[in-house]
Amino acid sequence: MDTTARGSPSPQDLPIEGDADVVRVRQAMRTFAIAARLGLVEQTKAVTAASELARNTLVHGGGGEATIELVSDGRRRGVRATFVDTGAGIPDVDQALTEGWSTGTGLGLGLSGSRRLVDAFDIDTAPGKGTRVCITKWAR
């Protein structure tokens, strides 16, 4: 992994084309969360949210890419992960974010659950336009 002189990892792009890639996203998210000095519980929440979203990208988006990066708002550091696919998109985002709502293959916790685990959650999707989800978790 590239690092700057201050030891901060550069943003990392990861393909999501198979099960093993979901594991790689988890591992990269952990590395960045540690670099952002998140506590253990915060790290675990960030990695779990990334795992849910990476699987969504794979299963519902037909594969795509994750970008993981360190962010700072001047006072604190955090980790940000963006998941992009060019799949079918989500017709009804509000419904997809409802706990327990599922396409039938899971528990319906992927989107709603991962949103609860992070500090910021942005989703941009439309039918036929793919899906982009961006999450941020700050160090306390």
Binding site: D19, A20, V22, V23, R26, Q27, R30, L40, V41, Q43, T44, K45, V47, T48, S51, E52, R55, E99, G106, L107, L109, G110, S112, G113, S114, R116, L117
Partner: protein, 137 residues
């Protein structure tokens, strides 16, 4: 594909998950475990997840399915060793693992199974291990 080993300790099967679980490996474990329960007639299953750094909704569902399947095959499952940060995250995620028995560690998991099922098991894990493995000790 990596496979998670399933060890037989008397009437109990012990599964110790030591690597970050790919979805396909988790599903294979569920199938392997069902086969081993039938083949060995095991009455209990202990799944040690102390090495797992996260449990997401997929892995959590595999544990719930695995426990439900084992129950249909007349075996009780106890998931042991969950890290505190994993437990906190699971509850936040909305997954309470209802229907899955848990214990803090392997020793306590075995004790629960022994009490619930009245299994004729030795008092401690060491005795079971050496008894079931002629190469030990």
């Amino acid at each position: 594909m990596d496979r998670v080993p399933v060890l037989k300790l008397g009437d109990v099967l012990l599964v110790s998950i030591q690597t970050d679980l790919e979805d396909v490996v988790a599903l294979a474990l569920q199938a392997d475990l069902s086969d081993r329960i039938v083949a060995t007639g095991a009455r209990g299953v202990v799944v040690d997840i102390s090495a797992l750094e996260i449990v997401d909704s997929f892995i959590g569902r595999v544990f719930a399915d695995l426990a439900a399947t084992a129950r249909v095959l007349d075996a009780e499952t106890v998931v042991v060793g969950m890290r505190p940060a994993v437990a906190i995250t699971l509850v936040d995620l909305g997954l309470s693992l209802g229907g899955v028995r848990t214990a803090l560690n392997v020793e306590k998991g075995l004790k629960i199974l022994r009490q619930d099922l009245g299994l004729p098991m030795a008092e401690d894990l060491e005795a079971i291990t050496s008894a079931s493995n002629p190469l030990a000790g």
